[in-house]
Symmetry: C2
Subunit: 410 residues, 2 copies
């Protein structure tokens, strides 16, 4: 008998029919003698409907009030799932985030979980109930309803699994696991049986949007065994996200090819090469709430250097505007240039720590196809390059092949 937390996303609970599928799966696990906590998102489309209503009332909806409105989405789902479970003859009980209670800070629309009181859930589980918890939401110390931001239901699932010391946290999505790359780009892409947390973090932040990155961090921190599964297939073990690297090292050097087509690059040229300059460039950008991804600065020549970074394509104009009007003359840079027709491709794998030549193999493979590399950035377990977006699919395909990702590892 195990204690399992199952998290179902909006698509999995998008209609009464789909909720009944969830109910059947839960019933199957319950029949095996497991204790089950179900964490659910709002029915697909519901959160967007509520946000649209809010925007009709207020151009920039007040964050506290927006959370009040949006949090109803999951509240509806937990009630419906509980009813479905009862209809199947199971004992079930639903909880909002506030009822659990999942205490968060007061950063409305992007709150962070501070603590979880798991006592009621434990009692209910001991009494044979399936406990159904609203994902994505919590309550601050003043009793205000908060939300964790988009995708926060994954985080709720992992946090509850951590609080309960659950045996496994199963994340049900519309894909059946984590793939070596996007199968829509490379039909030979293969589902990974396991992936390490670190690799998953790189894959997630690089655009393999299977799991919310905060959830993965959380799982790593609290050593929660995380499994990604399809909610639309009866069979299959999905992908297990492990924190034991050893299981992994026997296998492939590279786990996957991640990519992101929303990357825009910006270069500030002729920057004085002196302390504090990076902050003077990026401070105003981050103050305007523009997220910066890759940052590159090369060794300077004659007291001057070039400073490059990438931002989301949607924020390219905003970032360019800040740099040209607030930063350039202030720091005495020569000029600011940018390109929003770029994309990022990364090879990811813990194996590269102990294998040389991964970078050179990657660069050679791209060169053979005539793909120019515009920027390079590396970490211990990934190498990312920025290229012209028109070569993106080609790059992903040739790299997938070059690293034998279409083959099961020996």
């Amino acid at each position: 008998m195990a204690l399992i937390v199952q998290k179902y996303g909006g698509t999995s609970v998008g209609s009464p029919e789909r909720i009944k599928n969830v109910v059947r799966r839960v019933a199957k696990y319950k029949a095996l003698g497991h204790q089950i906590v179900v964490v659910v998102s709002a029915m697909s489309g519901e959160t967007n409907r509520l946000i649209a209503l809010a925007k009709e009332m207020q151009a920039q909806p007040d964050p506290r009030e927006l959370d009040m409105v949006v949090s109803t989405g999951e509240q509806v789902t937990v009630g419906l799932v509980s009813m479905g479970l009862m209809q199947e003859g199971l004992k079930a009980k639903s909880y909002t985030g506030a009822q659990v209670k999942i205490t968060t800070d007061s950063a409305f629309t992007k709150a962070r979980i501070l603590s979880i009181d798991e006592q009621n859930i434990r009692t209910d589980l001991a009494n044979g109930y399936v406990v159904v918890v609203a994902g994505f939401q919590g309550v601050d110390n003043e009793g205000n309803i908060t939300t964790l931001g988009r995708g926060g239901s994954d985080t709720t699932g992992v946090a509850i699994a951590a609080a309960l010391h659950a045996d496994e946290c199963q994340i049900y999505t519309d894909v059946d696991g984590v793939y070596t790359t996007d199968p829509r780009v490379v039909p030979e892409a293969r589902r990974l049986k396991t992936i390490t947390f670190e690799e998953m973090l790189e894959m997630a932040s690089l655009g393999s949007k299977v799991l919310q990155i905060r959830a993965v961090e959380f799982a790593g921190k609290y050593k929660v065994k995380l499994r990604v599964l399809s909610s639309f297939e009866e069979e299959g073990d999905g992908t297990l996200i492990t924190f034991e690297e050893d299981e992994k090292m026997e296998q492939a050097i590279i786990s996957g090819i991640a990519f992101n087509r929303d990357e825009a690059k910006i270069t500030v040229r002729g920057v004085p090469d002196k302390p504090g300059i990076a902050y003077q460039i990026l401070g105003p950008v981050s103050e305007a709430n523009v997220d910066v991804d890759m940052i590159i600065q090369n060794v300077g020549v004659d007291g001057s250097t070039d400073f490059s970074f990438t931002v989301h394509r949607n924020e390219f104009d905003k970032a360019m505007d800040i740099l040209k009007n607030q930063v350039q003359s202030h720091i005495g840079a020569r000029n600011v240039v940018g390109d929003n027709k770029t994309a990022k491709v990364s090879v990811v794998g813990v194996g590269m720590r102990s294998h040389v030549g991964i970078a050179s193999k990657m660069f050679r493979t791209l060169a053979e196809e005539g793909i120019n590399i515009q920027m390079i950035s590396t970490s211990e377990i990934k190498i990312s390059v920025v290229i012209d977006e028109k070569y993106l699919e080609l790059a992903v395909r040739v790299l997938h092949k070059a690293f034998d990702l279409d083959q099961e590892p020996a």
Copy 2:
């Protein structure tokens, strides 16, 4: 400066545009220096949508889970109203029933309010906020979300007005006040400037569905000044529901004609005329949750009598079934007869206490039109008759005229 509680029903907040109308009205009162608490229902149609979803999951939705789902309707509205008020430059803050907190018993779907903690609302009002409270809902002592049942938002409004000792509780609906009778039946029906609580109770329970009857009882008990107004008209003082009878006595003897076309009558004939017989007849009926309205038993002849009562038309078959199969032979009654094509008409007015001849005038008026009276029941301030439903409109019209209700009182 006054403290005013304004309650808006589902139709008044049925769309973002209509919520903006509510916002403008609140802003107008706020500009006059008043402190305002707004109590709102779910957007029209929303509660029914949620109930339909629930019924897709469970044939008889679990009451606790149903309240979990249905209570989201008002939660959405409070957030939207607050946003609208902020968009107009006002300070606003929303509360769910649980956040206030409005403590109820645990009778899910039909909970009763036990207490209201008005401290947060007082603090917010003192700080210049418009406070927006979700109607219809509360929280029990275990932290479960409860609802007060259909129309419960009126009760929330009155209960909050009572807790705050508000100067007035304004109920905004889709009619502009309480009328002498239904204007769809009698075009000459006139809006009453005032009506007493007792009259309002009789009018409400008899089918003038302007206000939920529990709300009126609550207002009477706590001496809350209640005013019914239209949310679709800018001007007009609506109808004030008073507990000072004196204001009223100067005016008309009869305040209005109430009616109900859903009344079905049942007679148990040849009932032994002995103690305990009424309970033996009605006990099984009420145990089956069938509500009984009028009850009539005449003086017996030769140790035997006839016992009559009325039920809602929808429950006629159920009640007949119980009487024929469980009661008739048990008590030794001769037979059970019924008619579900009947209707009830009542004249209501505190003035009849001090005026004789109201009943005879009513009976004569009906007789002149050839309308047979099947049952009669009276209280201190009303006289009700059951008639064939086909005469209902005619009866209401002639009584309205006979008691000069189309004329402003002198």
